[in-house]
């Protein structure tokens, strides 16, 4: 009996090692896939080991849960388009939070007599898990643009309500933990759960849809913390280690995003960004020079080196395959084609890399911002596809701009810039982009995919 338990605990140690090594292998594109598989194997081992624990004797609910969950999970994984990754990750985070919160509840229901510190941990797990769940649901809805307005929802007294809620949850926690076997304990924990659910909604609803990736990354971190907390409840090392790794990962990604947007985490989390924009009209000089696809073709045809800057608009119009085709015809024409990837291009960190990888564009053609900027002066044409904020030179030049200080891809330093977008519409930050008015800029208006297709046709008809 004791020996089995020891053995199974050793399996947990091995699982933790696979998680750690998995993350390490994730550090390079050549080994990342193996890393993911290794980590999955470790997870499978942990699940099997858990089933062998002597106290696991009832299999109905367990088997049903596993079967249902696995099927839904697989459907999610294969049905979600690459453009929908942020939503999917968001939803999965919520489910992770839900699982942790339910584990806490199950423990409480099974063993109502708990020492005070266990009571505190149960309460904490319920709190983090529930906030993660409801917050993730709101984030998901905002990204899907369903049920909830994408814009920041602001109402008077917002902060006061949140603080009052938090105080109530805290009070409930004390009440609950002091005597978990009291007859009122179940109701109190239920109340805490409901309040936490409301709190999660209220925390996320004032944040604008475009800030959702930061929120999702933060919620990812919370789901890790919830797992960690539930590890303290059942005193399981593996949960703690894995939870801490995920927690760290979420926080690091959040910080990277905020840094690349030149905003503080607090600024994002307190919300309201994009709701009321500084009315001050920005001074932009110069005139707009629209071009037709045939003119753009002539410019591209003559270029020796082209740098493509993809942005959110490319994802919206699903133009990744078209971009790949254009790249091929240009390369056939003897032009060197590279992609410049801004860390927060798109709506999720690394979003553009995944999209372009989906279209079979090799990752060694994707260059990071810091590596491409020094070479920008000798680039013939910089082609901007559905990007806006990440190439806005105001970030470098205009101290009054909300983008001031954000690192950008310095497209304006290329000899010629071609901007592909539908209109003079603004980007996520909602500011004017002086790049569009520069002397060396040409605007190719239209949906990204359609414009790309037109360019490809020009190239093809020229050959034949």
């Amino acid at each position: 009996m004791e020996e089995i338990r020891t053995l199974l605990n050793l399996v947990y140690i091995l699982s933790a090692i696979t998680f750690i090594l998995g993350f390490k292998l994730m550090g390079r594109p050549t080994t990342a896939r193996q890393g993911n598989v290794l980590s999955a194997v470790g997870m499978a081992a942990a699940i099997i080991a858990t089933l062998l624990f002597p106290e696991v004797v009832r299999y109905t609910y367990l088997a049903a849960g596993l079967a249902v969950g696995a099927v839904i999970g697989a459907l999610f994984a294969y049905r979600t388009p690459m453009t929908g990754m942020p939503q999917m990750v968001g939803l999965l985070n919520g489910f992770g939070g839900a699982a942790s919160l339910l584990v806490a509840w199950a423990e409480f229901v099974a063993r109502p007599y708990q020492p005070v510190y266990q009571g505190v941990i149960i309460w904490l797990t319920v709190l983090i898990g529930t906030v993660t769940l409801s917050g993730s649901l709101v984030a998901w809805a905002k990204l899907e643009e369903r049920f909830i307005p994408t814009k920041p929802v602001l109402y008077p007294g917002q902060r006061v309500v949140s603080v009052v809620l938090l105080a109530a949850i805290l009070g409930g926690g004390i009440w609950f933990a002091i005597d978990t076997a009291a007859s009122s304990a179940t109701q109190v924990l239920l109340a805490v759960t409901v309040l936490a659910f409301v709190l999660g909604i209220l925390l996320v609803i004032p944040i604008g849809g475009a800030d959702m990736p930061v929120v999702i990354s933060l919620l990812n971190s919370y789901s890790g913390m919830a797992a960690c907390a539930s590890g303290f409840i059942i005193q399981n090392n593996l949960l703690i280690v894995a939870g801490a790794l995920v927690g760290a990962s979420g926080i690091i990604l959040t910080l990277i995003m905020c840094k690349a947007m030149n905003r503080s985490v607090a600024n994002v989390v307190l919300g309201g960004f994009g709701a009321d924009l500084p009315g001050k009209a920005q001074d932009v000089f110069g005139e707009i020079k629209p071009v037709k696809p045939d003119e753009a073709y002539l410019i591209l045809e003559a270029a020796n080196s082209v740098v493509i800057v993809p942005g959110y608009g490319l994802a919206v119009s699903q133009a990744q395959h078209a971009v790949r085709e254009l790249m091929e015809v240009m390369e056939k024409n003897g032009t060197e084609v590279r992609f410049a990837i801004h860390p927060v291009a798109g709506r999720m960190p690394g979003h553009m890399n995944v999209l372009l990888a989906e279209a079979n564009i090799p990752y060694d053609a994707l260059i990071e911002m810091d590596a491409i900027n020094p070479t920008m002066d000798i680039v013939d044409v910089c082609m901007i596809i559905g990007a806006n904020d990440v190439v806005n030179p105001a970030a470098l030049e205009d101290k009054s701009s909300p983008l001031w200080g954000m690192p950008i891809i310095e497209a304006h330093r290329a000899r010629t810039v071609i901007v592909m977008k539908r209109s003079m519409g603004k980007g996520f930050a909602g500011v004017e982009n002086p790049l569009f008015f520069r002397n060396n800029t040409r605007m190719l208006f239209g949906d990204a995919k359609a414009s790309l297709q037109a360019l490809i046709n020009e190239f093809k008809s020229a050959v034949s």
Binding site: N36, R58, A98, L102, A106, L253
Partner: protein, 95 residues
Amino acid sequence: MEVLIFLLFILVLAIFLGFEIISKVPSLLHTPLMSGSNAISGVTIVGALIAAGLGEGEDTAALIGGVAVAFAAINVVGGYLVTDRMLNMFKKKDK
């Protein structure tokens, strides 16, 4: 209480380790990193399985555990599969 100390120690070490390892992942792989760590956060399934399989106590506890298993399984299975799907697309220039 002694166990709690051990768990705290493990937590501290794991947090440090997490920051060291994750900060080495290049931005190229941040989306799969996010979905992959999502899958790992489904590790609560271990706790859920124990709750769902418990013989003693009320039936309710096991039922709640079963639901927890389902949620966690979505997380695990969905997370790993979608990460694999993404990583499978990352290719080096083969010419």
